[in-house]
Assembly symmetry: C2
Homo-oligomer: 133 residues x 2
């Protein structure tokens, strides 16, 4: 197995223009759809069944929730436990890999929280400028 103890230190520059494209794609694949963050966040709090998630995130449709869960599942950040009762129950929980995502996400979320007003002000200014034109 490739350990990939990736240190980006100074080596990032050398020969490697690091068109970070690959990591970008991976990253976006966790996050680029509308509901991944909410689902991840919810599952970090507690393992949940499908309909529990729907209740926790009322705006999501079944289709989208299923798609989101499948993607996260495929990426190994969440895992379903199928309970073969009647009718079936499926309990989704975050994997160890998924847990490692929490800090990075929190950092980003903290940023968004910190700068929310800045962003909104910038937008208003931008939109006002357009109006003026």
């Amino acid at each position: 197995m490739t350990g990939t103890s990736s240190d980006q230190a100074a080596s990032a520059k050398a020969g490697d223009e690091l068109r970070i494209d690959a990591p970008h794609r991976e990253l976006l694949d966790q996050v680029h759809d509308r509901w991944s963050l909410s689902v991840l966040n919810e599952l970090c709090e507690r393992p949940s069944r499908f309909n529990a998630l729907r209740r926790a995130i009322p705006q999501v449709s079944q289709k989208s929730l299923t798609a989101t869960l499948r993607r996260l599942e495929r990426n190994g950040v969440v895992e379903p436990e199928i309970v073969s009762t009647r009718p079936v129950a499926v309990i989704y929980r975050i994997t160890p890999l998924g847990k490692t995502l929490r800090d990075p996400i929190d950092v980003l979320l903290a940023w968004a929280d910190d700068h929310l007003s800045n962003i909104q002000r910038a937008r208003e200014a931008f939109d006002d400028a357009l109006d003026g034109v």
Copy 2:
């Protein structure tokens, strides 16, 4: 077409635990398109003109680059300087607000880098399982 804010009834029950929906949206708005991260990364390195960016990120089309720059501009993380020469030159640079995005992004990128192999292994396992079925 003024792509004005697509407001959503994100009626988060106040007092609830971080119904991060709003920050989510803000966050995704910086990052959810294909080229924002690359552009941000490039502009963190050096101020660049439009075509310099295109050269630095060869896969992006004019249209997408323009759209990405406009979005980032609107959010106040990049800023254009228009030099009224002949023909015009436009120098894009990252704003102070934009600079504060760097660390959070690096954290996320570091995560992606660290866990790339894990993710890929998870995907292969997932896809193999599908094949098996």
